[in-house]
């Protein structure tokens, strides 16, 4: 098979022979399974999602076994925008499937895609998620901006299709996918397969779409049914690497070894330090990665909801893969705090409530958002009681419980078998009741030492520490400092020579200076070269990190000129934009050049992966 005829990166001739020999003996399906298996092995070995196509350019290497542009015989490019890895995984699966059918797709992360290639593409398959508030994934922003801009080329004659990932709890559902679909059409490209918008439980719709896609682009492929079949398999087999390593679908149950409050007395917040044991998991991660945590709902809340529904915990129900009870499902399988538009629709039907009906309307977006903010699942059920409910029917309105991601706050160079998290507890009152976040509330109220939590490593290739001798500027507010603790632990053990500068912001110096003594230690030992802090509630004039950044304009610019990498972590809504604006302003001030030039400067930093964000 042609696919094996060129040597892949980093394979010795001997390895290559073995691979070839094996390849000859493969039956359809096996190759795909193996791709997943090797990927898993690789992750086990390296601690990064192994799909080379998921590793951004600076780390070098195009996909093992994936030809770069030149090799793309039929000019098929699979382009993905991903922040938490889902779209990337699907892109890989799609690539494997079409490769299996003898095609040679180019798989590329939008973050690394050379936009000048766009006009030459013949078939472009886009898989993208939506982040922020209807935005493209951070790493794909530049690509989206280019596409939206006047610079975008006419694409008449190009074929395309879009798979959109999203979360229906967000008002602007799958917005990024919708945008790119619309834009490609505007630019004259022809859609070859209708866009599918996938909610967080995307397995089946995605599998079906992939199968349909494969059929479209590889007429040679076998009959629809079996394709769909193998396509579904393909999603699940993407978990086959779990044989070698734990992942999202096969989480490792990590034991809590420590859990204490970092914020001192009198704090207006509660931020915790959590230490989990990864012993025997073989899980590995790099500074910048996140940990996926699969939380369970608060038993008390499950009780309350069952009460409101007047249903029994042991009422039998069936989920797509197994039979269970309502109580168990509400505890572990579904979001029972945050309600979704889906629930509104569903409950409108069940309750026949006119008010809910009204909220379904197209123009009702704002009213819907407001309603959902004020009504979580239990509130909807209480306010619009439905009697004689059937358990199965209830869960039809719920969305699957989502894993929560936490930036990893420790380095395996220091604690190989541990992963540390910095978690701020979400607590608020709603309809006269104290409520708390599912995951953060779990850690605050129930994660005693020795209890276990299902977790997996979520690689974050777009938030990577620079080489040891490169200066780094780290900007974080609140829990946003978490990854920098990992960065510095790593640099300390590696004896890195590069300068480092940390900007940290929180509310009150006395109580909220997260990891204060550790930073002081890093400074003393020279692991951290500089640190500035901003505490917004200590003085009448609220100072935030961006103000400190501005105060230090000259030096910050000098560092950037020296080639410093700059990192921003924490709040997406305010911190990230404010810091960005401040950077632009200080670059204008120090370089004496205009706004456009400054933004171009930042754009370049971004393209060179010298300006990276991990915001949520």
């Amino acid at each position: 098979m042609s696919v094996f005829e060129f040597p892949a990166t980093a394979l010795t001739a001997e390895q290559w022979q073995q691979v070839n020999a094996l390849a000859q003996s493969l039956r359809p399906g096996q190759a795909l399974w193996l791709s997943g298996y090797f990927a898993g092995l690789d992750r086990g070995v390296r601690g990064v999602i192994a799909d080379a196509d998921y590793i951004p350019a600076p780390q070098g290497a195009t996909a093992a076994g994936t030809p770069d542009a030149g090799g793309a015989v039929q000019g098929l490019t699979i382009l993905y925008g991903s922040e938490t890895g889902n779209s990337a995984t699907l892109a890989r699966i799609l690539a494997d499937r079409v490769r299996e059918c003898g095609l040679q797709p180019v798989v590329s992360d939008m973050a690394d895609y050379k936009t000048r290639k766009l006009k030459d593409e013949q078939t472009l398959i886009v898989i993208t998620s939506t982040h922020g508030e209807g935005d493209a994934p951070q790493s794909a922003m530049a690509f989206f901006e280019f596409l939206a801009s006047r610079k975008a080329p006419k694409l008449a004659g190009m074929k395309y299709a879009v798979l959109a990932l999203g979360d229906s709890t967000y008002e602007r559902y799958c917005e990024a996918g919708k945008q790119i679909d619309k834009r490609l059409a505007e630019l004259g490209a022809t859609q070859i397969e209708a866009r599918v918008d996938c909610d967080v439980d995307y397995d089946e719709p995605a599998a079906a779409w992939i199968a349909a896609m494969v059929e479209k682009i590889t007429p040679a492929a076998s009959s629809g049914a079996s394709v769909v079949g193998s396509a579904r398999v393909s999603i699940e087999t993407s978990a086959a690497p779990a044989a070698a390593v734990f992942d999202k679908r096969r989480p490792f149950s990590a034991t809590v070894i420590d859990n204490f409050v970092l914020t001192g007395r009198g704090s207006s917040k509660e931020t915790r330090h959590i230490e989990l044991s990864l012993e025997e998991s073989g899980l590995t991660f790099e500074p910048g990665d996140a940990l996926g945590v699969i939380p369970h709902n608060d038993p008390a809340l499950v009780e309350a909801l069952l009460g409101a529904l007047s249903l029994n915990a042991d009422a039998p129900i069936t989920l797509k893969d197994r039979a269970t009870t309502l109580g168990a499902a509400l505890a572990t399988d579904f979001e029972i705090t945050l309600a979704t538009p889906r629930l509104i629709d569903h409950w409108a039907k069940l309750s026949g409530s006119a008010e809910l009906e009204r909220l379904k309307g197209e123009g009702e977006a704002e009213a819907r958002t407001a309603f959902l903010r004020g009504h979580h699942v239990v509130d909807v059920v209480r306010r619009f009681p439905v009697c004689g409910l059937d358990a199965q029917n209830v869960i039809a309105g719920l969305r699957p419980l989502q894993p929560r991601l936490y930036s990893i706050a420790s380095s395996q160079a220091v604690a190989a078998d541990e992963v540390h998290l910095t978690i701020s507890t979400v607590r608020y009152d709603l309809n006269g009741e104290p409520r708390s976040g599912v995951a953060s509330g779990y850690f605050a109220d129930r994660a005693e030492p020795d209890t276990t939590v299902p977790v997996y490593v979520q690689a974050n290739p777009h938030f990577r520490m620079a080489d040891d001798d490169t200066p780094i500027i780290m900007i974080g507010a609140g829990t946003g400092v978490a990854p920098y603790r990992a960065f510095l632990q790593e640099r300390e053990t590696r004896g890195a020579s590069g300068k480092s500068w940390l900007f940290f912001g929180e509310r009150n110096f006395r109580s909220d200076f997260l990891y204060q003594t550790e930073w002081q230690g890093f400074l003393k030992d020279g692991v951290l070269s500089r640190m500035n802090v901003a505490f917004s509630r200590d003085s009448a004039s609220k100072t935030y990190v961006q103000h400190k950044l501005r105060e230090q304009a000259r030096d910050v610019y000098a560092w950037l000129e020296e080639g410093a990498h700059i990192y921003v972590c924490g709040d997406a809504a305010n911190l990230a934009p404010d810091v960005h604006a401040t950077l632009s302003a200080l670059i204008q001030q120090e370089s004496g050049r205009g706004r456009a030039a400054a933004d171009e400067y930042l754009g370049t930093l971004q393209r060179e992966h010298r300006y990276q964000l991990d915001v949520y």
Binding site: L262, R510, F513, Y515, Q516, T517, Q520, N532, D538
Partner: protein, 579 residues
């Protein structure tokens, strides 16, 4: 002039090169007259503390770096540095202040000092829990009402004390004025204070003349404490001062002062070479000679005090090392005249006289018992609010007593009812209706702010007293005035070693118990039990109380009885305190 002193062993005093002396001497000498890097330390943003050496220099400015010890461990586990903050001690000679000054201190205490003020055993105020960034606003706030914290701590002339004697109004006014003058005269003159805290430009100085005429670059070997007392009340504990002036005023006319030197309380457990010492009487001087005596005495201690070992640096040790006569001669040589024969002076107590007193000038004075000097709003007894309300209408003055109490002084008779109404309105009407033991009790600050504390004091004594009161009532002694003083460590900040009953902290819940001090501060007490807990303390106290109730002679004092009945031996001299 060469006296015995010049010929004495000079191997440990200021005549020696710095490297042969305690490191603190080098620090002082190289501090650019107490400036150090304090100003820089104030802006360091990653810590609430100030850099190492500056902490010691700041004491000369009346500021102590502390941290809340209650939560030290908790914060260490939370990866937070200790809850660093600062104690600021006001310089308030004789404890006298105006209503306007009270209102400002109250305001500053509410804004920066955790909504409390602390009256001290040397008649002044302390703010606790002041954050670094609030130091300047606090100091400048004090400046606005003519107050400062110069030399409130440090190796210099500390707060000068003066009896609060309510009745002898004219005499008090006269002696208080001298105490204030003495303080203004004896404190450091460096511009550091104004430059750092008021952010003023350095004043142009003739570099030839030293910034500190009296102190030079090395200041004193250790703290130096001056006090003025008006018999018959020894409220300031004249015998605990390094230099004390006992007013001699037959028929209320001030003729001069008996001079006493070498008092001090500080000692260290398990270090018998350290001991409390009562000041020795060396003679009488006329009123106009007081400043000369102060200069000469401080010079002698400055030049001959031990600068190698700070535990042995107080004037009391210099005196016992060199001999009282040698020291006296040294002082006389420097002041240029000799002391006259001491006159007779009689003391009756070292406590306060509570309630309303009428001065000879017809003005009235109300002494309010304030437990351990803590001015704060108690549940149902908003003391801080009450005093603020009074200060708003009060045209006289306030006097902080040496027993941590407060006098609302110089009240015109017609103004008295309004003040009484405010006291009642704030639940303070019966503040003085307490046992003779409690009314004569003092406890030092100790936990959680004091860095040297080994056991609770201020927060514990009140409860212990309640248990002791039960014992006393059973013996019909509830109104018997008995002095009791507690400290959290052997340093003796509440002057425990001259109390009839004393407790000094050794470890959490553990204290040394002392009996036999003189009721009017004329005699040291002696350790009766070492390092014991509450039960043992109460048993011992009960045994003595029962015995006292049964066998005391008419008017015999609790402390005197403890010696006569053989519980402890009489201590005639500090040197024998540990025998």
């Amino acid at each position: 002039m060469t006296t015995l002193l010049e010929k004495s062993d000079r191997s440990r005093d200021v005549s020696q090169p710095l490297e042969k002396l305690n490191p603190d001497e080098t620090l002082k000498a190289n501090s650019n007259q107490l400036r150090g890097t304090i100003a820089e330390g104030l802006v360091a943003e990653l810590t609430a503390a100030v850099p190492g050496d500056d902490i010691k220099l700041m004491k000369f400015h009346g500021i102590y770096q502390q941290d809340n010890r209650d939560i030290r461990d908790e914060r260490r586990r939370q990866r937070l540095e200790p809850a660093f903050d600062f104690m600021v001690r006001v310089r308030l000679p004789g404890g006298v202040l105006t209503s306007a000054q009270w209102l400002k201190l109250d305001e500053l205490g509410r804004a920066y000092g955790g909504e409390t003020l602390r009256l001290t055993t040397r008649q002044t105020f302390q703010f606790h829990g002041v954050l670094k960034r609030n130091l300047r606003p606090l100091m400048q706030g004090m400046r606005d009402v003519g107050l400062d914290s110069r030399a409130a701590c440090g190796d210099d002339s500390r707060g000068v004390m003066c009896s609060v004697h309510p009745q002898l109004s004219a005499l008090h006014a006269q002696v208080y004025a001298m105490a204030k003058a003495a303080s203004d005269h004896a404190i450091p003159k460096t511009g550091a204070y104004r430059e750092i805290w008021y952010e003023e430009e350095p004043e142009p100085r003739n570099q030839a003349t030293p910034e500190e005429p009296l102190y030079g670059r090395s200041y004193m070997p250790r703290k130096f404490k001056i006090g003025f007392v008006l018999p018959p009340f020894n409220d300031i504990d004249i015998y605990a001062q390094d230099l004390g002036f006992i007013a001699i005023a037959p028929r209320g006319k001030l003729e001069g002062f008996n001079v006493v030197i070498g008092g001090g309380m500080g000692r260290t457990d398990q270090a018998p070479e350290t001991y409390p010492r009562l000041a020795s009487l060396i003679g009488f001087v006329a009123v106009d000679k007081v400043t000369a005596v102060i200069d000469a005495t401080m010079m002698v201690q400055r030049d001959f005090g031990d600068r190698a070992d700070r535990m042995h640096a107080r004037f009391k040790y210099t005196i016992d090392d060199k001999g009282l006569d040698a020291i006296k001669a040294g002082i006389e040589a420097r002041q240029g005249f000799t002391f006259e024969e001491p006159r007779e002076a009689i003391f009756t107590s070292n406590g306060d006289q509570y309630g309303w007193q009428r001065g000879e000038d017809e003005l009235e004075h109300y002494t309010l018992f304030i437990e351990n000097g803590r001015v704060i709003n108690h549940e149902g007894r908003p003391l801080m609010d009450a005093l603020r309300a009074i200060a708003k209408i009060h045209h006289g003055t306030f006097r902080v007593t040496p027993n941590q109490n407060l006098i609302i002084a110089d009240v015109a008779p017609k103004a008295r009812p309004a003040i009484e109404k405010l006291l009642d309105a704030h639940g303070l009407g019966s503040s003085n209706a307490l046992s003779g033991l409690r009314l004569n009790s003092m406890a030092c600050v100790s936990m959680p702010t004091c860095g040297l504390a080994m056991a609770e004091s201020e927060r514990y004594l009140p409860n212990l007293l309640t248990k002791m009161e039960a014992i006393l009532s059973a013996q019909g002694l509830i109104d018997e005035p008995i002095t009791i003083r507690m400290t959290g460590c052997p340093n003796g900040c509440s002057r425990p070693y001259i109390a009839e009953v004393a407790l000094t902290g050794r470890a959490p819940g553990k204290y040394n118990l002392y009996f036999g001090g003189g009721f009017h501060g004329q005699r040291l007490n002696k350790m009766y039990l070492e390092n014991v807990g509450e039960d043992v303390i109460l048993d011992a106290f009960e045994k003595l109380a029962v015995h006292f109730a049964r066998e005391r002679q008419p008017d015999e004092r609790f402390g005197d009885f403890a010696i006569r009945a053989g519980y402890v031996a009489e201590v005639k001299e500090g040197r024998h305190f540990n025998d």
